[in-house]
Structure formats: structure tokens, C-alpha cells
């Protein structure tokens, strides 16, 4: 049970945050705001889930935002400019993302390159390719797509979960399952906990590492697809800095950047904390550009400290 404390702490902080905001702003505590929280942060959430795996393995991936942008632009361009059917365009984009991630994983694993640099290069590359596909944002015009976009689950008065949010939740459930009930998931934890041990224990370190980055490439591409559903367009400049948001969400969710420790479920908490802070500041609406930035950072700081304090409660004697 003790292992779950950081996750509980994350959700406790989330609830505290949400309660405070609800107290301060009218109409904050509504089903609509909560549903929006999921819909608006769906693609951040999906990248954060992929990122959770990477971080659990002790790595990092800076390319997620750029891969998302590439996927969006690719899908939009294929559908609008080249009249592909969405059901062709989206899977193709997902495959490209997966292969791209896998390639980075290969370089990292095979040549023992630092993930930071390889994925930094991946970020530049994917961003450049996004602009190569189209230097402007493209809107997607396709009846099937519009129909997809309009799919939603009504969860309350004026509150609906859009298709993106539904995909996000599905990915979340799947990721939790993979992390905790499959050998692949456990190997990720082992590699992150101690890579040399994992190797000496005879775990398939090489293939697992490659798979992790491939999986994350897939998640980034899926996030890109979800983003096109969210906005109905592809924007090559989208997702700049998304990687940092995703990393922050993962870490706020109680996962250690050193690898091996953390939970996918915590990441959900991290994403929602992030989103709630943003929503609360939008509801406030009184801060100018600089106070807004200062406020975001101060709130982040407060809630990270709170989360740490809560999870420290039961720290075992030896660390």
C-alpha cells in the first residue's frame, strides 16, 4: 500500500485544488468544467501516458510535441490535399509515429546514446518534417471526420465527453493494464530501477527499450490524431513545449525521473492538476500576461510541495 502513497497524494492535491477553485469561482464546480478538463487535456494526457513509460524506464523523450504536430499536419494534409480517407490517413500516421519512436529507441539502445540528445534530434526532425508537409495550418474537410468529431458521450447537463476524452480514458486503462499486468510493463520498471541489474538478470533490455520508445511514438501520434479530432485541423506549429508539460504532469503524478518508481494512474492526476490550474486562471481572468505566468508557477510550486509533503508522511526509514 505504501507504494501508492504518492498517487494518493497527487489525487488529494487535485481535490484540494479543485475545491479551492470551486470556492473561488462561480460555475467552476460543474459537470461541464470537469468534462472539459478531460476533453481539453486529452492529447496532453495521451502524450503524458507514453512519457510515463519512457520515464519509468529511466529515459526521456523530448520529441512528443513535434511528433504530435507532424501527425496532425500529415493527417490533415492527406485528407484535405490528397483526399485520403481518414481511416487510411490515421492508421498510416500512427504507424509513422511508431516507427519514428522505434528508430529513436534503436539509436538509444544500440549505440548507447543519451536519450536526451537523440529525442532532441527527433524533436527537431519531426518539427521540420511537419513544416515540410505544410507550412501552414490546414483544416480537415471530410464528412466522415466531422461525424467522428461529433461523437460524444453526454455525462451531465451541458457536459459531454468528446471522442478525444474517451480515447484518452481508454488509453489510460490500457496503459495501467500494460504497466502492471504484463511482463513488458514489469521489465520497464526493472530497467528503470537498475538497468545493469536488469541486464544481468537476463531481461530482454534491448528489445524492451526499443519498444518503449516505439510505444511512446505511437502515443504521440495518437495524441496528434486526437488533436485533429479536437480541432479539425492540422497545425505544424502545434505542441511547442508540450514535452515539458507532459514531463511535468508525469512527475507531479509521483513518478521519479530517475526511473523505476511511479504509476500511470498518477499521471492522470498530474495532467488534471495541470489542467485545473489553467482552468482556474482562465476563470479568474484578471491577471495580465506576466502575473499569469508567475501565478502558474507559484501554484505549481505550492501543489508540488504539498504533494511531496503528503507523500513523505510514510517514507520508510531507508531511502
Amino acid at each position: 500500500m505504501r507504494r501508492f502513497i504518492p498517487v494518493f497524494a497527487t489525487f488529494a492535491v487535485l481535490i484540494a485544488l479543485f475545491a479551492t477553485a470551486s470556492g473561488m469561482y462561480e460555475r467552476f464546480f460543474t459537470a461541464r468544467v470537469i468534462a472539459n478538463l478531460f476533453s481539453d487535456n486529452a492529447f496532453l494526457g495521451i502524450t503524458a501516458i507514453g512519457m510515463t513509460f519512457v520515464i519509468l524506464s529511466g529515459g526521456i523523450d523530448l520529441s512528443v510535441g513535434a511528433v504530435l504536430a507532424f501527425t496532425m499536419t500529415f493527417i490533415a494534409s492527406m485528407i484535405t490535399d490528397h483526399s485520403w480517407h481518414p481511416l487510411v490517413a490515421i492508421p498510416t500516421a500512427l504507424i509513422i509515429g511508431t516507427v519514428f519512436g522505434g528508430t529513436m529507441g534503436f539509436l538509444i539502445q544500440r549505440y548507447e546514446l543519451p536519450p536526451f540528445l537523440v529525442t532532441l534530434a527527433g524533436m527537431f526532425f519531426a518539427r521540420g518534417m511537419a513544416f515540410m508537409v505544410s507550412s501552414e495550418s490546414i483544416s480537415i474537410e471530410h464528412d466522415f471526420y466531422t461525424a467522428l468529431q461529433d461523437l460524444k458521450i453526454v455525462v451531465g447537463p451541458k457536459a459531454k465527453l468528446k471522442i478525444g476524452a474517451v480515447i484518452f480514458l481508454a488509453v489510460l486503462a490500457l496503459a495501467i493494464f500494460v504497466a502492471h499486468w504484463t511482463p513488458f510493463g514489469r521489465n520497464i520498471y526493472a530497467i528503470g530501477g537498475n538497468e545493469s541489474s536488469a541486464r544481468l538478470m537476463g531481461l530482454p533490455v534491448a528489445s524492451t527499450k526499443m519498444l518503449i520508445y516505439a510505444l511512446n511514438g505511437f502515443c504521440s501520434a495518437l495524441a496528434g490524431a486526437v488533436a485533429t479530432l479536437y480541432m479539425g485541423s492540422g497545425n505544424p506549429a502545434m505542441g511547442v513545449g508540450l514535452e515539458l508539460d507532459a514531463i511535468a504532469a508525469v512527475v507531479i503524478g509521483g513518478t521519479l525521473l530517475t526511473g523505476g518508481v511511479g504509476f500511470v494512474a498518477g499521471t492522470l492526476g498530474g495532467v488534471l492538476i495541470f489542467g485545473t490550474i489553467q482552468s482556474a486562471l482562465i476563470f479568474d481572468g484578471r491577471l495580465n500576461s506576466w502575473w499569469l505566468r508567475i501565478a502558474i508557477s507559484v501554484l505549481l510550486l505550492i501543489f508540488i510541495l504539498l504533494q511531496r509533503q503528503l507523500s513523505r508522511f510514510t517514507k520508510t526509514s531507508r531511502t
Binding site: L107, F124, I294
Partner: protein, 339 residues
């Protein structure tokens, strides 16, 4: 721990400057062959003038950031806030220079003290509060820019103060003054690290924090110090950036420069996992990235796809440094797997 894989991420012993240098030389060779006038140097108004000089001058900011970042990374951390700290020091200086009568001898220390303090604040978050470095410094990365904009009221504050203008545009001994600044900082840092025990402590903390603490090293102070130092370096870089354009552009200055700095450090032979570091390597790494940027501008690479060649160069340099890759390519390095 006598097994070879205990640190698989360790990629090569901090020490070898050969590979980053080779990368730099290769790039310069390309420029020599394909870019007209890249190596043209002339003397104008008593100082050197040419693309190479520009690279030194423009690269000085990244070099300074990389110096501070090297130590932070050596302790196993990372500092994302350097860009925002640049903005803060630039903003402070611009505002003080234009709105007060203070002399530069007062203003510069004030600005550097401010960024040092903010850097130390990062250090507190990391070492005392135990927040992970990426997130701890992300806080100041976001908030610091807010502070900088607060100082300038969101405006671009321009100045004409001769002393301030000199820092980023002046010349000393025929070279941009920034070169002297970088050299002095490099020298001071190297001396500090090698002639005192600071370097030992930094490397020990980065390599095995627990063991260092058990040996009586004050790991907290070490971390506070390196983040503070990184703050000072960022402050200096901010001064140069502001001086360069005779203005404090607090909302844009230093954006994404943290990535350049980290790139420089890692290419220069300091592993992100901490431990051994190499200051000179970081400087070379910074030069590499600046040369690349300048090359792309002069080569007329369309800006939208400019990241692609950048990516290729990064991967190429990485592969060059990978012993495994060299072994695979060269073959004659034998099948000796890297330790």
C-alpha cells in the same frame, strides 16, 4: 562494483575532447568547402571582423550557459530556467540603466546577485524540498519570464548606455569583449573546480549522492552552489543578450536556449546522469551548435525545415561519440564491447 554495465548510460568518460572537436572540425570543413567567405577575416577599426568572429560572439551566450549547466548536470541535475534568468538579468539592467543614475559597477552586480539568488532558489527546491530538477527548474522557467516581464512592464526597454552596450558589442584585444568574458569565466571555473575541492565534491555528488553524504560531503550546499552558479552564468548571458540588441526583450530572450546549453554539455562529454564533467567540452559543444546555426543561415536553408539538418548533425555527432557505433563501422576497433 566491478561490472562493466553498472553505468550503461555512461557514454564515454568525461575527458575525451576528440569527438566533439572532430564534429566541430567536420562542420567547419563543410563550411570551408561550401560556404563562400565563411573563413574570411579582415581587420576593421582595429578588430577582427568576419563570420568566425560572429560565431564566437553569438555563441558566447550558449557557452556561458553551458558552463553553469555543466556543473548542474554533473551533480545529476538540469536547469531549465536559464533562459528566463537571462531575461531577468537583462530586464533588471535595462530598467536600472534607463531609470536610475546608478553606475554599471553597481548595476551588474545587482543583476548577477538577483540571478544567483534565483538560481539558489532552484537549488533549494532540488536539495531541500527534494523536487526533481526538471520540474523544480521548470517552475522558474515559467515564472521567471513572468518576473522579467513584470520588471519591464511587458515592453521592450531600449538603452544607449555606453558601458552596457560595450559588454555585448565592444571589442577587446581585437576580439569581441564577450570572448574575453567567456575565457575569464572558463578560467575561473576551471581553477575553482580543479584547484579547490569543489570539482571533487560536484563529481562525487553526481556520481553517488548517498555515498558522498555518508563521507561527510554537504550535498545540499553543493547543489545550492551549482544552481546558484548556473544562475550567475545565465545572468551574464542575459547581460550579453541585452547588450547585443541594446534592449531587454523580456518576453523572448533566451527562449529554448536551455536546450542548446544542455546539448552543448552533453556533446561535450558530460553525462546527463551526473558525475565526471568536462568544462572545455561544453564550450566546444556550444561552439558546435552556434556554428551549425550560422551555417544554416548563411546556406539559406528554409527556416521552416532548418530543424531537419540540425537533427541530422546532432545524431551524427552522437554516433561519432558512440564507441559501439565506431566499433561497428570501423571493425578494426575489434569486438570489444564498451565498458
Amino acid at each position: 562494483m566491478n561490472d562493466p554495465m553498472a553505468k550503461p548510460k555512461e557514454w564515454f568518460q568525461g575527458g575525451s575532447l576528440v569527438w566533439p572537436l572532430l564534429g566541430l572540425v567536420a562542420l567547419l570543413a563543410y563550411d570551408f568547402l561550401f560556404v563562400d567567405g565563411f573563413f574570411r577575416l579582415e581587420v576593421r577599426d582595429g578588430h577582427l571582423y568576419g563570420t568566425l568572429v560572429d560565431i564566437l560572439n553569438q555563441g558566447s551566450k550558449t557557452m556561458l550557459l553551458a558552463l553553469g549547466m555543466t556543473l548542474v548536470i554533473a551533480t545529476g541535475g538540469v536547469d531549465l530556467s536559464v533562459g528566463s534568468l537571462m531575461a531577468i538579468s537583462g530586464a533588471l539592467v535595462a530598467v536600472l540603466v534607463t531609470q536610475t543614475e546608478m553606475s554599471l559597477a553597481m548595476i551588474v552586480p545587482i543583476a548577477l546577485a538577483a540571478t544567483a539568488l534565483l538560481g539558489a532558489f532552484n537549488g533549494v527546491l532540488v536539495s531541500v524540498a527534494g523536487i526533481q530538477p526538471i520540474v523544480a527548474t521548470l517552475i522558474l522557467m515559467v515564472g521567471g519570464r513572468g518576473i522579467a516581464m513584470l520588471i519591464t512592464g511587458g515592453q521592450i526597454v531600449t538603452f544607449e548606455h555606453a558601458g552596457m552596450v560595450y559588454i555585448g558589442n565592444g571589442h577587446f584585444l581585437g576580439l569581441p569583449f564577450t570572448v574575453t568574458l567567456v575565457l575569464v569565466m572558463l578560467l575561473v571555473t576551471s581553477l575553482l573546480m580543479r584547484k579547490t575541492a569543489c570539482g571533487l565534491f560536484v563529481e562525487a555528488v553526481g556520481d553517488n549522492e548517498t555515498a558522498s553524504r555518508f563521507s561527510g560531503v554537504s550535498t545540499r550546499s553543493v547543489k545550492l552552489a551549482v544552481y546558484g552558479f548556473s544562475g550567475i552564468c545565465a545572468g551574464l548571458a542575459g547581460l550579453i543578450a541585452a547588450s547585443n540588441i541594446k534592449a531587454a526583450d523580456s518576453s523572448r530572450v533566451g527562449e529554448m536556449m536551455e536546450l542548446d546549453a544542455i546539448f552543448a554539455v552533453v556533446v561535450g562529454g558530460t553525462a546527463l546522469t551526473g558525475g565526471r564533467f568536462n568544462l572545455l567540452g561544453s564550450i566546444i559543444g556550444a561552439l558546435l551548435i552556434q556554428t551549425l546555426t550560422t551555417t544554416m543561415i548563411t546556406q539559406g536553408v528554409p527556416p521552416a525545415i532548418a530543424p531537419v539538418p540540425k537533427a541530422i548533425v546532432i545524431v551524427a555527432v552522437c554516433l561519432l561519440q558512440s564507441e559501439k557505433f565506431r566499433a561497428e563501422i570501423g571493425g578494426r576497433f575489434g569486438r570489444r564491447a564498451s565498458a
